[in-house]
Amino acid sequence: MRTELNKIEQIEKYLRDELSVADKKAFEEKLKTDSNLQKEVELQKDVIRGIERIGVRKSISKASRNYDNRRRGFFFGVVLLIVISGAIGISNYSTDEIIKKPIVTESVEIIKEEETERKESLVIDNESAAVEILTETEEIDVVKFPTKKFQYFTINSSKDTTIIGDEGTQITFKANSFNVPKNSPIKIRLKEYYKMSDIAFSNLTTETKDGKLLETGGMLYLDALANNKKVDLNKNTFFDLKFPFDEKKKDMILFDGKTKNKTIVWEESEVNEIEIVEEFIEEEWESEVFTIVEKMPEFKGGQDKLFQFLGKNMKYPADAKAMNISGTVYVNFIIGANGKVQNAKVLRGVHPSLNREAIRAVESMPNWSPGMQRGKAVSVSYNLPIKFRLDGSTVSYTPEQIKYFSDSLKETQEKNLFGDDGIADTKNSTEARGAKSDISYYALSGSRLGWINCDRFAGRGNLNLAIKVDNKDTDVKIIFHRIKSLIAGSNNATYSRFGRVPSGERVTVFAVKYVDKKPFICLKEITTSNKSINLEFVELTKEGLKEVAKKISNI
């Protein structure tokens, strides 16, 4: 291990031209004759280039999104009454706090073992085998649905350890969580199911024991081995779980899974406290104007005072009033490092005189407390919606309105943290984005190994959906478009039935049957209604399988 790392370090230094003249010469001599070393160098070059290319791709798709948005001519992805990108209230979940919490502690082993030891532990797979039923009847030369492989991590039972799965799940075991002698090596096995195709192919569903529909934020199979025997957690011992997400959903809770009829049914876990963790990854940007900073600039006296100020200082332009024009003007401005309001401009206006009045009001604001980044005052780009209403002769904000504004500001601020680029760049300097949330998690505590699911309840409907099948063994599932949910039908000889489905819901039917042990599948998009549905099957080929997986995970 160590020598391997040393070699990597040396190659790295050679590639970056950081070796001393003598070392470089020695290295090049060796390189001439040592074909293994040549290969290693090439491999390392490819890896680094690959990494760079991933970065380039990200830049390109960002440019593509920006370009699309411009072409469509709007500034924001979502049209809300109030849309704001630089907003108030960010310090509530400040960067400081999150950075102080180390994501990876020193004792952590994030490097996991390769999967060479899979075979020796196959013996004890009963519990996780349930998910592989789709493949168990098949022979080697037929097309198989891919199943998840175990990821292995070896930890020291006497140390706090965090493991990170391939798809981003973070699991932290405290020291002495397992009932084993001190300093025993524990092998943790993990399977992660985030993609809908993984869920569907593994015969998992998002249904509880008592038939409630769930929307999933990720499923796991997790267990621990000592000397190739399963070990359990000590009583009243908890481990921390973090499920990464792209789009935040409220009310996520933890479910434990039990094997039942070859599938897994979910049951609400006894412990259920969830915390949403947003990790900020700051990025360096070329220009000095930020959108989001550690401490956002603030109107002196707070946002209530800001709205009061606007209410007091704005007049409803007479011409607009005469023409009965009202609406919301979106203004963007920069709060300089000195707190000064600069460069006010209209992002989306209503009527010229309303736009002018909005700009005038913004420019008449007193200095703000500037935004701070790494302890330094910086310029921050800020958006503000200004609403003109015609119920009185002047613009005024009632306390309810102020509250509504504040809440919406907060809400849209949160939206922005989820990867939306917010405002498209205008003219010169607003390419700058201060920071961006890169990875966010649902953080929960688990007390039981085995099947684990981070979900929330989704309402059911009262439709009975019937899908025609020609034999009882056809496996039929429906995958919802609106929510991340999948349920399986219960079959008799002619129908596969789904009870209590919402009607008018877009779903994709995914059905599998075997003819002469060969898989035939049907993938069909429908809107749920009380009409019975017929399925058309095609034989699954290897290429088809990829297509199917892609389609399902894009639902």
């Binding site: 391997e4 790392l5 990597i8 370090e9 790295e12 290693e40 491999l43 390392q44 490819d46 890896v47 680094i48 280039r49 690959g50 990494i51 760079e52 290319r53 991933i54 970065g55 380039v56 791709r57 830049s59 390109i60 798709s61 960002k62 440019a63 593509s64 920006n66 370009y67 950075i99 919490k101 180390p102 994501i103 990876v104 502690t105 020193e106 994030i110 490097i111 390769e114 990170i164 799965g165 391939d166 981003g168 990464p244 990790e279 990854i281 700051e282 990025e283 360096e284 070329e286 760049d425 390419e431 890169d438 990875i439």
Partner: protein
Amino acid sequence: MDDNKIIELLKIGKQNQVFLKLYKNYPQVEKLILSKGGSKEDAKDVFQEALIIFYEKVMSTEFKLTAAIGTYLYSVSRFLWKDELIKRKGKTAVNVDFEFTSEEEAEFQEAIEREAKFKQIERVLSQIGDKCLQLLKLFYYEGLSMKIIASKVGLKSEKIAKNQKYKCLERAKLRVKTL
């Protein structure tokens, strides 16, 4: 922004700025692909691919600007689309009006092969774990110092981050090796 300026900016790592500018060449490519049996999605994919090929070309040591960037992007896109059509429909079905000089043919063909190889590499690299990928990207793509990276990814010290970087590289190499 003129072509030389674009290249200069790319070389000093201002990709974000450059790619957005280069999108002004997109409508032309979209028009081409729509007229040759493709969809808007196809056009988007092809253009993104063309941009990355252009980027690789600029970054290669022997790069010299011989044609206008817009022309280059258009030719690459045309070639990529021809290649895609052949893949989809077979050689005979593809129209004759896709002609290229032998130099172009050689250069683009090489680029396509390289792209195929690196797509595989990128795919396995994206599986080395978010933290590792992030760390490596910050170092190799963003060019940040190990000290800043340590604080960004939540590692206690520069030394730990450095060590972690080698471990991540090792993991990445293992994955790429098995391709």
